[in-house]
């Protein structure tokens, strides 16, 4: 059974005068995500990927179509908090997500809202901080941490609510390369070890490569989807929609254009080196 299921979702934002914008931010998206999957949602700014993210935990409700989380419709108001407990959303700016002045107290914020008994909150906070590798920083002030560390604390804050799925809306956009690596390896670990469904929204191709499945969006619609291999081999289609491919794929594609025969498009540097070795033999 699908854990998340979007059925023909249409959504447009209203402006200040409460008039619906003519252009749909999300325009008929259908998407199914299974439990334990790692899905990357890829696209330009304004392609509707953040809007999709907010649909997944009932922050936004579709104008038409439905969003089902574990079988529950997000438009059912009684279920709103159940859904938010199951699907945690991590936002782009780590500074604006941390609400307490001490790391562990911030992580406790979610479980406190759920009315969990103190002893269990303590256990959950320790579990979440250990899972993201920030346990040693539990008594630090958030503003003294680096961007990557802050974002990991934000992930711990969601994790402490024991969600089944974490949706991350460009979590690495404001981070330096080190911070990006920290966050991504944390996500991969959570996905593999704790079987948590991850929906990673990004516009970095190199991050999308890590996912089980890549969904590419453009102007509110799904352009293409499949495994990273399948998606990034469609270099022409992606280029047409002004989307990049990973550098290694780009190189391989150019070589193809020059008449070199390549069986499998490489997605990262390692695969690229292997591919070049093969070709040069």
């Amino acid at each position: 059974m699908n854990f998340i299921s979007l059925e023909n979702v249409v959504f447009s934002y209203t402006d200040d005068e409460n008039v619906k914008s003519e252009k749909n931010a999300v325009d008929g998206v259908s998407l199914n995500i299974k439990k334990g999957e790692f899905v990357a949602l890829l696209g330009h700014n304004g392609c509707g990927k953040s809007t999709i993210a907010k649909h997944l935990n009932a922050m936004l409700l579709p104008d038409s179509g439905r969003v089902l989380i574990d079988g529950d419709d997000t438009s059912d108001e009684d279920k709103t908090y159940d859904i938010r407990k199951k699907v945690g959303l991590v936002l782009q700016n780590p500074d604006n997500q941390l609400v307490a002045s001490i790391v562990e107290e911030d992580v406790a914020f979610g479980p406190e809202n759920l009315g969990i008994p103190p002893q269990e909150i303590r256990e959950r906070v320790d579990y979440a901080l250990k899972a993201v590798g920030m346990y040693d920083y539990r008594e630090h002030a958030p503003y003294k941490l680096s961007g990557g560390q802050k974002q990991r604390v934000a992930i711990a804050g969601i994790l402490a609510m024991l969600p089944e799925c974490i949706v991350l809306d460009e979590p690495t956009a404001m981070l330096d390369p080190n911070g990006r690596d920290e966050v991504l390896s944390t996500l991969l670990k959570l996905n593999k070890e704790k079987n948590i469904t991850v929906v990673l929204i990004t516009h970095y191709m190199d991050e999308a490569v890590l996912a089980d499945r890549v969904v590419v969006m453009d102007s509110g619609k799904i352009l293409t989807q499949g495994t990273p291999d399948q998606v990034f081999s469609q270099v022409e289609l992606l280029k047409k929609h002004r989307l990049d491919v990973p550098q290694s794929t780009e190189l391989a594609n150019k070589l193809c254009g020059c008449g070199v025969k390549i069986d499998k498009m490489p997605l990262d540097t390692e695969a690229c080196v292997k591919m070049l070795e093969e070709v040069l033999k």
């Binding site: 001490i102 406190e112 909150i121």
Partner: protein
Amino acid sequence: MVRDVAFGQYFPGKSLIHKLDPRAKILLLIGFLVIIFCTFNYFSLLLVTLFTALMILSSGVPAKFYFKSLKVIIFILVITSVLNLFYGTGTPIWQWGIIKLTVNGINRAVFVTIRIICLILASSCLTFTTSPTELTDAIERLMKPLNKIHFPVHEIAMMMSLALRFVPTLLEETDKIMSAQKARGADMESGNIIKRVKALMPVLIPLFVSAFRRAYEIATAMECRCYRGGSGRTKMKSIHMSKRDAFSFIALAAIICGVILCNIFIPAVI
């Protein structure tokens, strides 16, 4: 630059004062502040000064941070003590025009200076040893009876803790905006006071705009984490009074008795 302000910071630790119930600490501080201003002779003044020193030493926070918190008010301190120095009553021991110096004036100046120093040090001791969450939690609990008259206690406590959380973030942002405006040729360090205040406008406007945008995002993030007001919330760190707190109240009571006894048996000097 603006980030050097030590007042209101929290230093995690395991000292006796750290372990006291934050509610007890707030009540003790209020009691102590009152007693500071009930000192009328040097013996009682010495008593409260010693008590303040004891507090600082047992807090385990490096003394330099206490000095830092004093640095902020040094201007106020100098002004009030100088004013008191020359406004004493009694026979002048030195006079120059309308300016006269009396024994009473000197006493007043000494008292006011030491009282303010003790006041700041004692308050710093509270904020240094209590995390903002504990502090707002304690205020929430102390104000709980007001809930009966529909006073939004939880909301106010939440606003306070959020405000405290974002003080360093906003200070950092102010720094950034100032640098950005300076890079565009804004002059903020010269001219008279009116000019300088005017020069601050290009800093304040972007700061306010971004603060509102931040507030909106924080609200979203809080909603994502199932925040829905105070009802049904639990706390990870539940606070409760213990023997330690009783002991600290006894210590305060001893100081109060000491000061009162001094006031009775030793003549007041101001």
